[in-house]
Symmetry: D2
Subunit: 339 residues, 4 copies
């Protein structure tokens, strides 16, 4: 950490900074420039995380040098993390790009089975579907709860597809773990720290969706929350950030893929459906995600989007999804991967 | 709701839209322009909230006309809501501008009492302090939990100051309600819908903080969530939104004050401390908030910011806070209010 | 255009709106719903563009139905525009994805030739390089002006590579047209309407870069400015928008590619270099751009980035660029194009 | 400037950084920590502005310590700049808060005189009005040019009100200087560096409006551009930045007032009209601006907003403006100023 002193700081201000660093077990390295004096803190600057050095008299700015996350960082673990969800063929983070598809919400057993029936023949190994739905309106359909989870498990039994579903409330953890193969933490809960702590204590892979306006650093800090509890099976999911643009629901930040690949060893997947919010733009963004190096795709598919209880406008119909899969496979091959 | 048809829609597409509206109990009103045919849905368009009309063939766009919230809207309740927290002199939303002040986190009984001792003589009637702290790092101080709540209640006993503290987890609701006079829902939980439902079922005023990138509409929808459960004592708190600017922690959106005053009957308060993230800018923004019409201020104060366990850099020292109070009082008078 | 009346509007307010529309040659179509009365304006709503109907008493909101641009819209011209810059093999917007590469600024004849010497063998047909540089600091290198243009033209003479360079000032138009094959309008000038008008009156293709926080609609309106003067050879370039994220210079909005392809017939290219601002992330985003359907790439290349007078950190070295070209070619093939 | 070396940098990488700094006349100060080695550049780091040290092998990050602007900084000139536009009573930046009001565009002599006739009795000393209008649509009214300037000058002759009008094109500089007392550089031209250079060479005060997504640092760099040419009469105008919020046209960043007051000695004014884009919210934001410490207000006023050729919806009617003036005067007094 670098502490920049104000041009008019007093000698005692500087002493106080140095003393404080030493109290904390760090060495202070002074460097008096022509215009500014700066103090380098030698040692593990993470002990300074919560120390408001900016509030000391004479301090102009405090500049951290190290990343605030550790377990999630590639510096800590240089090789890629490959998460094996359940037996062979279900690794996330390996050479094979996984696809997680299904409706936004589980609506009925019949519709779910109908949708899964279009996905399974395309070698989609993960079925998504919400049993508990975070909805912006209290008057919207909130999901079927355990009944929905049972429908998902029913499809798994028939098809072998693994179940991905969202946890919204720490009180539902045990229930979800009974049915789900992967637990999803949604965008609006990326900084629901209690929920992160909760899934840090289970033995299931977790898909962590990036918050609507979360920085990459905050995203990784939320992964760190989960990992700090002992669960290192975290899959990062970029799903669009909020910008000024209104033609798309959100703005997909695909540069997050190569950037995260540098900063962390965790797998990175892309949800183009929530990012753009319009079915017609999903296939192009899915192809781009594969080309950018994503380890997986999460896509909303519905047999009759015009009847979907949630997110209809962004759901692909089965034929459009099948075409997308074919296109993405060609791009995957072009970048040396399979799908 | 207005449905805009594509220029090349088929007659059967139009029929399907009309039929769908009629099935839902609405009347369809057609208007064939030179370049577009539009269909107006006559009736309560809220039944269309979850119907993905955009997914019907031939539909170009769907334009809602009504606001998606009802209980929170001024159209529904034209007069201002004044929330009486506890006896006379503690109304929020009336002519008197209330101030909620205190440290970010409750650190110790001594420090809390020391801080409260500087606030009480200034006629600050609400003490804030976090017992459960949402922290971006899992390695940061997370709050003292119930012990912190007891310290807060202890100060209330001595001074009569009312206690404002944050709820992070639905499992803590009963505990918090034992000690708190007002429950705060933090920025990162503005769309934690389970938590909103939870506080919708209690009989305590709730301060709902605007999410970092929540639109005004989403902010009001979250208030609607609480109100839809039966708790109409919701206080809206603008505390800065996230923008590209990095010199301040967030960007305080003060235009939210007059805008919310138009759209809703609920009280609106401002937290300048989290908005700017720097103590030196807080007083100017507090004055501006009062001038803009805010019903209250929420300000972080600490006797020794350089030792604060959380948010030190944005905490005012008691003398700066006292000066701010004096300035704000003059502005309050200038706009016909007291403080 | 739809005019939504306030719930409490007076009959005379409604009459005034209707009269106003009729004065402007439009027909008013009334639709009285349960909660709102709306007025549809039948006819070409573009005559309403500058009429502040919102200011009429009793009006709650005005909702445009048509796009504000015409010449640039795909509705106006359904087939793709292919711009032939100079003879065969230089079409932009066709099946072949064009690459425009070179240094940010023209620094010296030697360095420019050295860079071009690495590009030409890779079949890069367009050389970029700034002779007039928009720099955020008045103390930074501002470009060599005409001398730089001559160097660019010198390379064209030797290699046949076509010259792309930026126009910053309407007073330089004649000068630039002497040397350039394509004129670039930079991000910061996307809404420099005088400059747009200026290049609307020349007979050269124009690369129009999206503004840092320009919406897609504004972007197309700026294209419309150029086209309204008679120059329909406009190439749209997405180069990253500004968001809250600070790890990358900007956030590349790749969904702009499929979106623009729907809304307009104009070619769309991507500049990954300015978008991410870091050489290490450029190749992944170049591949993604190709997969998303971009018609071209604009990439900064420098033989010695550490000596570049501008934008060194985002410039690829020749070997990294060559590798990127190879990767992109494979992706181009996978999506049915050449590069 | 601080150069942070990668954890795995080579000794020769470090040597190269040190050598480079020494070549540039700086001293290198090494500080080898446990996790990172950092190099401090001692001397005026501004010589490093254009040196892409990030591109050197082994460098992880480059952290500037000094501000990139100098003439505009308060460090360079601690006392406030007060700009005397024309004789006594027209200072901007002093204790008296100035108001600049008028229509968006000069529409006709009659309307302009009618508007000015409502402003002058309220002691408004500056008349705004556009003769050259930057419009997002090429089909919108573009202003009357010199004829409009003459109308403005005509009002000055009759009333003594000083003229503020916008320069869009460097070719119009001489013309505008004939008529205007203050030249305005619009939001979309904040980084039109040629225009900045142009007004840096004239002897008139310049109102520089903040770009839609310009950071405070970029804003001050644009002021520096003007000042570096010799014109130090720069007035900074915050007028709203672009965010995700759509209920208001832009988001007024009022914290820019106290922040700029710290960083620079230049006067700071606020344009609430463009910020919110709705007349009904303007008065509250004007009061807030005064309370926050603004040196002036720039407000759009029109006698008949529903007929305005530009920006009608955000223009105040004369009676609303008069009420706003009265409210603002009371707030000004409360903060120790006059208006």
């Amino acid at each position: 950490m670098i502490i920049v002193m104000k041009p008019d700081h007093l000698a005692e201000d500087l002493n106080r900074v140095v003393t404080r660093l030493e109290e904390l077990g760090l060495k202070a390295h002074l460097s008096a420039g022509e215009q500014r004096t700066i103090v380098g803190a030698i040692g593990d600057e993470r002990v300074l995380r919560d120390i408001p050095l900016e509030s000391l008299a004479g301090v102009e700015a405090v500049v951290p040098i190290l990343k605030p996350y550790k377990l999630a960082s590639r510096e800590f673990k240089p090789e890629n993390t490959v998460i094996r969800v359940n037996g062979a063929g279900t690794e996330i983070g390996g050479r094979h790009i996984q696809v997680i598809a299904g409706p936004c919400a589980v609506e009925s057993r019949e519709v779910l089975e109908e949708i899964a029936g279009t996905l399974h023949p395309l070698d989609v190994r993960f079925l998504r579907g919400g049993a508990f739905k975070p909805r912006t309106s209290p008057y919207s359909f909130q999901g079927w709860g355990e009944k929905g989870l049972k429908y998902l498990a029913g499809v798994r039994e028939k098809t072998g597809m693994l179940v991905v579903t969202e946890l919204m409330d720490p009180r539902d953890t045990v229930l979800l773990c009974k049915y789900a193969d992967i637990i999803q933490i949604g965008t609006r809960n990326m900084q629901n720290f209690r929920l992160l702590t909760e899934v840090g204590n289970i033995d299931k892979p977790v898909i962590l969706k990036r918050g609507l306006c979360a920085t990459i650093k905050e995203f990784l800090m939320s992964a760190e929350y989960i990992m700090a509890q002992g669960n290192d099976k975290v899959i990062l999911c970029e799903r669009g950030v909020r910008t000024f643009e209104t033609e798309t629901r959100n703005t997909l930040d695909l540069s997050a893929v190569p950037l995260l690949k540098q900063l962390t060893h965790l797998p990175v997947i892309i949800d183009p459906s929530h990012a753009v919010g319009r079915a017609d733009l999903v296939p192009a963004m899915a192809r781009a995600a594969v080309a950018a190096g994503a380890d997986g795709l999460m896509v909303e598919v519905h047999v009759r989007p015009e009847e979907a209880l949630s997110d209809g406008p962004q759901s692909l119909r089965p034929n459009a999804f099948a075409a997308m899969m074919e296109e993405c496979r060609r791009v995957a091959e072009a970048v040396g991967r399979t799908m």
